[in-house]
């Protein structure tokens, strides 16, 4: 465990060193730019789709990280905001109501409406923490899903369990991303175009999250996470600051939802179940709660790993035993579950925790820290 910690420290050192800084970023930028072409050529479109979904999950995980990682509020219904963003896009850009609003109008609106839902969830739960908050947020997530499932009568709004199809794809003016974009010199395949849009959105969200972390409001969130009463005594209006965390996290979810709808061109309530919320929470916790690079890593890993298992589980059995004993689909979830257990057992602070969090865990192991318990008087 110490070795892996050292390995990660060495791996991330260049990022903190001013001289190599720009070089590392430039290389990373080039890598990200050519990535979709390599993936499409080397692994096929299936994996490119997976990559696009990974970027959506990065946005979701970073949004949830604001609520869970920064402010310490355990939210089990986060996927509801993703649903709100997705359905808003679906309703405003599909034959459902015959509306075809432009992207620049729907995405900000989706972010705003999701943020509003964040406040709606936050307001009644202000006095709750931990397990209690988890249960209420879980209920909230289910309520949203059930509404989407049943709002087809008496007036058909969401089209119920059938979902909404034939949604407009993401588009810039008349250029739709659903078809290859011909730029004269190169033709950008649809999936690659989506990748660039998602990458842009994800990078923007990462930038916002990084800035929020080291800011007045970021410190206030951390203070509430650490000790709410002390935070109040420091002059923090904990009600507003918590609502802000819920709203901000939900906003990220809303944007990701809108992009999702414009990518899939189909939404239905079953995409927004409890398991999805749990999955995003796993990404945050497994990656390293509160640590942005860790959360990104967690999101990428948990999107790619199950897909990897899915593709590997069948052929490996075939190769080893000559026939398939366990259905690859179940084996994939089994392996996935096992890896979650192992990570939590051996790296409880996540795969890539913040240096600070790492110190905490190490301190807890060598208990030579000073006694923090006051000696009681008399």
């Amino acid at each position: 465990m110490k070795m892996t910690a050292r390995f990660f420290a060495r791996l991330t050192r260049p990022l903190n060193d001013g001289r190599v800084h720009w070089l590392v970023w430039a290389l990373l930028g080039i890598l990200l730019a050519v990535m979709p072409w390599i993936v499409a050529a080397g692994f096929g479109n299936t994996w490119l789709r997976v990559l696009n979904f990974a970027l959506l999950y990065v946005m979701l995980a970073l949004g949830l990280n604001i609520v869970v990682g920064f402010a310490g509020l355990l939210d089990m219904g986060y996927i509801a905001f993703y649903a709100v963003g997705a359905y808003l896009w679906a309703l405003l850009a599909s034959p459902q109501f015959g509306l075809h609003w432009p992207m620049w109008a729907i995405l900000p609106l989706g972010a705003g409406v999701a943020g509003l839902f964040g406040v709606l969830l936050g307001a009644p739960t202000l006095k709750l923490r931990g397990d209690y908050l988890a249960i209420v947020t879980l209920g909230f997530g289910e309520i949203i899903r059930i509404f989407l499932n049943n709002l087809n009568a008496p007036i058909n709004i969401t089209n119920g369990p059938q979902g909404i199809s034939a949604i407009d794809a993401l588009h810039f003016g008349s250029v739709s991303l659903a078809r290859p974009i011909d730029l004269g010199v190169v033709t950008i395949p649809s999936l690659v175009a989506f990748y660039y849009v998602f990458l842009f959105a994800a990078v923007t969200i990462i930038g916002i999250a990084l800035r929020l972390e080291r800011s007045r409001v970021g410190r206030a969130w951390a203070a509430i996470r650490e000790d709410e009463i002390a935070a109040k005594a420091c002059g923090i209006n904990t009600r507003n600051v918590k609502l802000l965390a819920f709203a901000m996290g939900a906003t990220f979810g809303g944007v990701a939802g809108g992009l999702f709808a414009g990518f899939q061109q189909f939404v239905s309530p079953e995409s927004f179940g409890l398991l999805e919320s749990v999955m995003v929470l796993c990404m945050v916790v497994l990656g390293g709660m509160g640590h942005i690079p860790g959360v990104i890593f967690g999101a990428l890993l948990l999107t790619l790993l199950p897909e990897f298992f899915r593709h590997v589980a069948g052929p490996t059995q075939q190769m080893l035993f000559g026939k398939i004993y366990i259905d690859p689909e179940s084996l994939r979830m089994l392996l996935f579950g096992l890896s979650l257990v192992l990570v939590m057992r051996y790296r409880p602070s996540g795969l890539w925790p913040s240096p600070q969090r790492q110190r905490e865990i190490q301190d807890a192991q060598h208990v030579d820290a000073p006694a923090a318990v006051p000696v009681s008087h008399k």
């Binding site: 650490e226 935070a231 109040k232 002059g235 110190r359 301190d363 006051p374 009681s376």
Partner: protein, 258 residues
């Protein structure tokens, strides 16, 4: 006439179920004073603190601070009005660095909002830099600047107490309320604390002090209020309090002064 009065509490009462924690307590605190609040365990000292700082809502009575009534049940507004506090059992943000702890104390005095935080406007940058500089300055003031980048929970007990005071000072209070700051300290640390409190007063901040260390109270305080079973039994200069029959009775039992 009233210009020298910083805080007046009038007829504060607070009950928890059947227990009357505070009964019609009225005290006045003058500007520039170090004011002691003593009494046996369970006398209601901390309850009075909590009512004053907005963590509890008193059942009746009101606080006038610096000429304006205090909002009850709004700790953040109380801080804005100029009252800062520490806690009996230290309440730091354990997994934030010492410096960040103090920077959180600046919260109520900063103007940045979430939008300027995201956009990193020049104003925001300047304010963040100023916050950090001033927080470091405060840590130097209380004498723990060398621990600025350590996690708060890894500081020694005495340093944690000092850090909590630095965090409270960061809110720019007119009145600093310290809840048993010397609890668990040895004689050396207590002497250092006394110097610190005197320095804070010299810089124009009044201090309200709950303390069990009688020597500290007697040396430090200009006036002392004694609570017993939620009632104020006297409010006087230390020398008088020491000889007050009801105070002796409260601490040692009836018959002791006979």
């Amino acid at each position: 006439m009233t210009a020298h009065i910083l805080l007046s509490a009038s007829n504060i009462s607070k009950a928890f179920g059947g227990v009357q924690a505070l009964k019609d307590v009225s005290i006045t605190l003058n500007r520039g004073e170090i004011y002691g609040l003593i009494g046996p365990n369970g006398a209601g000292k901390t309850t009075l603190f909590n009512c004053l700082t907005g963590l509890y809502v008193p059942d009746s009575g009101e606080f006038i601070f610096d000429g304006a009534p205090l909002n009850s049940n709004a700790p953040d507004k109380t801080v804005c009005q100029g009252i800062a506090r520490t806690f009996q059992n230290i309440r730091l943000f354990p997994n934030m660095t010492a410096l960040e702890n103090v920077m959180v104390g600046r919260h109520a005095r900063l103007r940045s909002n979430i939008l300027s935080d995201i956009l990193r406007t020049p104003f925001n940058r300047r304010e963040e830099q100023a916050t950090e500089d001033e927080s470091l300055q405060l840590m130097r003031y209380v004498g723990i600047a060398h621990r600025a980048h350590d996690l708060a929970k890894n500081l020694s007990y005495g340093d944690q107490r000092r850090l909590e005071i630095a965090r409270a000072l960061a809110t720019h209070p007119k009145l600093l309320c310290l809840d048993e700051p010397a609890a668990g300290m040895n004689a050396n640390e207590t002497a250092g604390l006394r110097q610190l409190i005197e320095m804070i007063r010299a810089d124009g901040i009044s201090v309200l002090l709950i303390e069990h260390d009688v020597q500290l109270i007697m040396r430090l305080c200009d006036r002392v209020a004694v609570l017993d079973y939620g009632e104020l039994i006297c409010e006087e200069v230390p020398a008088v309090v020491q000889k007050h029959p009801r105070v002796i009775e409260a601490y040692l039992g009836s018959g002791a002064h006979a």
